[in-house]
């Protein structure tokens, strides 16, 4: 919805700004028609970039600032990171089509700005949990391309040692990758609960999709989080389709950021990484100040199908897809950064090239990783915490029963 309202660059905005947003008008024109005047030469010197004023819609909540303090290094990094996610997903796509990846594989192509924008707004001490479209988040939380691709390939060097697959990747401060739609939302509230219990000054980013937003337990989590003032930013990644069912066909009210009712909400243009970064930075400060939870909606779009078995064309028109692709979060950031003289087109191409090269190398390494050894020790390992395992676990037959500590 928001993304559709983004207009081509350098076109003056004819519409009247909404009342509460009027003050930001000059930012908007600034963004569209002018370069940044005080652009520093140094990579690490902070300066402000404008954010389009149609990036946010609020619900009982003050909008984030319409300018974002950043550095040239960070802007380039944002571009780099989104390109990494895109490229990694593209490779996963082809590996799947080569039948090297099995089972589920949900790609986040088109939604990169959400994972990347969020990561740049939080620290490694902040926690993040998401649903099943998790590759990009895993990468941003510190998982390596090699470990993610190896996991998808079901190899020993996978981030979960080949036991989790596409939807079940974990690393420090990242709680997955959850395959049951809606179930990760109360779990995320629990992570925030632990932060509050331990008096940690961090927030939990708790993501789910527009499909999950209709699950009862999501609303149970909203209630508990508000009741106990938990430091959590719920985030509905609204890519407009829950599998093949459009948001309009699934939700009685599709303003997901308002569906917390008693929780302040914000709809963010999830196709603009700068808007996401600004919104989450703003939200984090709000939550850390002890104001209780927030409900964000990242309005985004999935260019790929729901999963690999879905071409993504039966339930949406080619025209829609084409229009959405014009709002590609990566190319629009690239255009902006070139416009602002943050980098040149050649430098952008150099980033693209280095990303390609790095992914290629890491994927090659992942493909070299062996499959998990086919022995009981590996099969039965880590069902329970080591040292607390039951003495025996039954295999397919009585002869395959595994006795703890046995070497096979």
């Amino acid at each position: 919805m928001l993304s559709r309202t983004l207009r081509p660059k350098a076109v003056a905005f004819p519409s009247q700004p909404r009342g509460q947003l009027r003050y930001s008008f000059h930012h908007r024109t600034f963004a569209r028609v002018a370069n940044i005047e005080d652009l520093p030469n140094e990579d690490d010197k902070p300066f402000s970039v404008p954010i389009s004023d149609d990036s946010f819609e609020t619900y009982n909540f003050d909008p984030p600032p319409f300018s974002l303090e950043t550095t040239k290094r960070q802007l380039k990094q944002l571009y780099h990171d989104m390109t990494m996610v895109r490229r990694m997903e593209t490779v996963a796509d082809s590996l799947y089509k080569d039948r090297k990846i099995r089972g589920f594989c949900h790609l986040s192509t088109g939604q990169e700005a959400v994972a990347v924008g969020i990561e740049h707004a939080i620290t490694r001490q902040d926690k993040l949990i998401t649903a099943y479209r998790s590759h990009g988040f895993t990468l941003m939380r510190g998982g390596s391309v090699k470990s993610i691709i190896a996991e998808l390939l079901g190899r020993q060097d996978g981030i979960s040692f080949g036991k989790g697959g596409s939807m079940h990747m974990f690393c420090e401060s990242f709680f997955g990758g959850n395959g049951i739609v809606g179930a990760s939302v109360p779990v995320g509230a629990g992570i925030a609960f632990a932060q509050q219990y331990n008096d940690w000054q961090n927030v939990t980013i708790n993501l789910f999709g527009d499909g999950a937003a209709n699950q009862g337990q999501v609303h149970e989590a909203f209630n508990l989080a508000k009741l106990w003032s938990l430091p959590v930013i719920f985030g509905c990644e609204n890519n407009k389709y829950g599998m093949g069912t459009s948001a309009e066909r699934a939700s009685a009210m599709t303003d997901y950021y308002k569906r917390g009712q008693y929780i302040p909400g914000l709809r963010v243009n999830g196709m603009d990484v700068l808007a996401v970064l600004s919104a989450v930075r703003h939200g984090k400060a709000y939550v850390q100040a002890g104001n209780g939870p927030l409900l964000y909606e990242y309005a985004t779009y999935r260019f790929a199908g729901h999963s690999m078995s879905d071409p993504g064309t039966a339930y949406r028109s080619r025209e829609e897809l084409k229009t959405e692709r014009e709002n590609d979060p990566i190319s629009s950031l690239r255009d902006k950064l070139i416009n602002w003289d943050v980098f040149t087109e050649d430098q952008a191409k150099e980033i693209d090239r280095s990303v390609r090269q790095r992914i290629k190398e890491e994927v090659a390494e992942a493909e070299k990783s062996p499959e998990p050894e086919l022995k009981a020790d590996v099969l039965f390992q880590d069902i329970y915490v080591r040292g607390s395992e039951p003495n025996q676990r039954r295999g397919r037959t009585i002869d395959e029963t595994y006795y703890s500590g046995q070497e096979q």
Binding site: K127, I129, G158, I159, S160, F161, G162, K163, G164, H168, F170, C171, F175, G176, N178, G179, I180, A183, S184, V185, P186, V187, G188, A189, G190, I191, A192, F193, A194, Q195, Y197, N198, G216, Q217, E220, A221, N223, L224, L227, Q381, D382, I383, Y384, V385, R386, S388, P390, N391, Q392, R393, I398
Partner: protein, 377 residues
């Protein structure tokens, strides 16, 4: 902060706390006394005391809350109301609202929240008012708690305890009368215990809380008020029972009765009657742990007696007894001198009327009758 709480009716049960608080110097020491000691019976010469299962559970919870700051208990009515079945009586007053937490009636929500807290490193104790209500949250118990450690390749543990009364109570009809031992017992990644006596209750509860895996503690409402002798060792705060080890409650040579939870008591009475009526010695094995199952103890006993009977109150099909009978064939077929048999709940949604309810669950005469038939007496 404490004063308004004193006027609540439930808190008046703890009047001793008011009295002692002023005179004793350390709050913790005084507070640990009331809920347990007042309800304990008199000491016997050997140092054994009569303790109800409820108080044993309460003692276990209090000791673990005391010794581990990462532990907290949450659930419906656990705090101000003092527990729907008073198992958490006095814990709020002693440990405060940060660690003893009333939740709304929102099983999937608070259970998921507890699992999240466990993933983030805390050691929650998640109480379900009864396990019938945990069906609303069973996805969180199984998919979020039990499987995460394996799915993460061992990097993401989940130290959580799920507890509450399981199985049928008196006159509560079908929706409140189900036994979930077999459900949870079938899930890799979970451990499941089902205490019978006060010692079981305390030792297994403490073991469950300390275990780094998700553990389901299936208590029984009908046992809460029942008193059992508790040894001196079990009264100490370091008393822990191993999960996965059964207990031979009554040794015998003619018949092995494998049973759990409330049926242990019924089986012991039945065994006494078998002895009195027929002069046979039945060995009664209290499973204590449904998962892992102590196969060795069962098979050792079977080797000795040659006959096996399971007694449980769950639905008959695909149940705990079915599993034990299957195991007896796999590991003990050559020792069996007669086909193993089972006494279970009937395959019926529990009826309300008392007579029909009694027909739905093993009674002592059902056990005696079935044993006599097995032994061809």
């Amino acid at each position: 902060m404490a004063s308004p709480r004193l006027f609540r009716p439930a808190a008046r049960l703890l009047s001793s706390r008011l009295f002692t608080a002023a005179t004793r110097p350390a709050f913790r020491q005084t507070a640990c006394a009331p809920s347990i000691l007042r309800f304990r019976g008199y000491a016997t010469e050997s140092g054994t005391k009569e303790v109800t299962v409820r108080d044993a559970l309460n003692e276990a919870l209090a000791e673990e809350l005391e010794s581990n700051q990462k532990t907290f208990i949450l659930g419906e009515e656990v705090a101000q109301y003092n527990g729907a079945y008073k198992v958490t009586r006095g814990l709020l007053d002693r440990f405060g609202p940060k660690r003893v937490i009333d939740t709304p009636i929102t099983e999937a929500g608070f259970c998921g929240l507890a699992v999240g807290a466990a993933l983030a490193g805390l050691h929650p104790i998640c109480e379900f008012m009864t396990f019938n209500f945990a069906m609303q949250a069973i996805d969180q118990i199984i998919n979020s708690a039990a499987k995460t450690h394996y799915m993460s390749g061992g990097i993401q543990p989940c130290n959580i305890t799920f507890r509450g009364p399981n199985g049928f109570a008196a006159g509560v009809a079908a929706q409140h009368s189900q036994d979930y031992s077999a459900w949870y017992g079938s899930i890799p990644g979970l451990k499941v215990v089902a205490p019978w006596s006060a010692e079981d209750a305390k030792g297994l509860m403490k073991a469950a809380i300390r275990d780094p895996n998700p553990v389901v503690v299936l208590e029984n409402e009908l046992l809460y008020g029942q008193a059992f002798p508790m040894s001196e060792a079990a009264q100490k705060d370091d008393f822990v029972l191993p999960i996965g080890k059964a207990k031979i409650e009554r040794p015998g040579k003619d018949l092995t009765i494998v049973t759990l939870s409330r049926c242990v008591g019924q089986s012991l009475n039945a065994a006494a009657e078998l002895k009195q009526k027929y002069g046979v010695e039945a060995e009664v094995i209290n499973l204590r742990s449904v998962k892992p199952l102590d196969v060795e103890t069962i098979i050792q006993s079977l080797k000795k007696t040659g006959r096996l009977m399971c007694v449980e109150s769950g639905f008959p099909m695909f149940g705990v007894s079915s599993e034990i009978l299957a195991l007896s064939m796999e590991y003990g077929f050559d020792y069996l001198t007669a086909p193993a048999v089972r006494v279970t709940g009937a395959e019926v949604p529990t009826p309300y009327a008392a007579g029909l309810e009694a027909l739905s669950f093993p009674q002592e005469d059902t056990i005696v009758g079935q044993a006599a038939k097995l032994l061809r007496l």
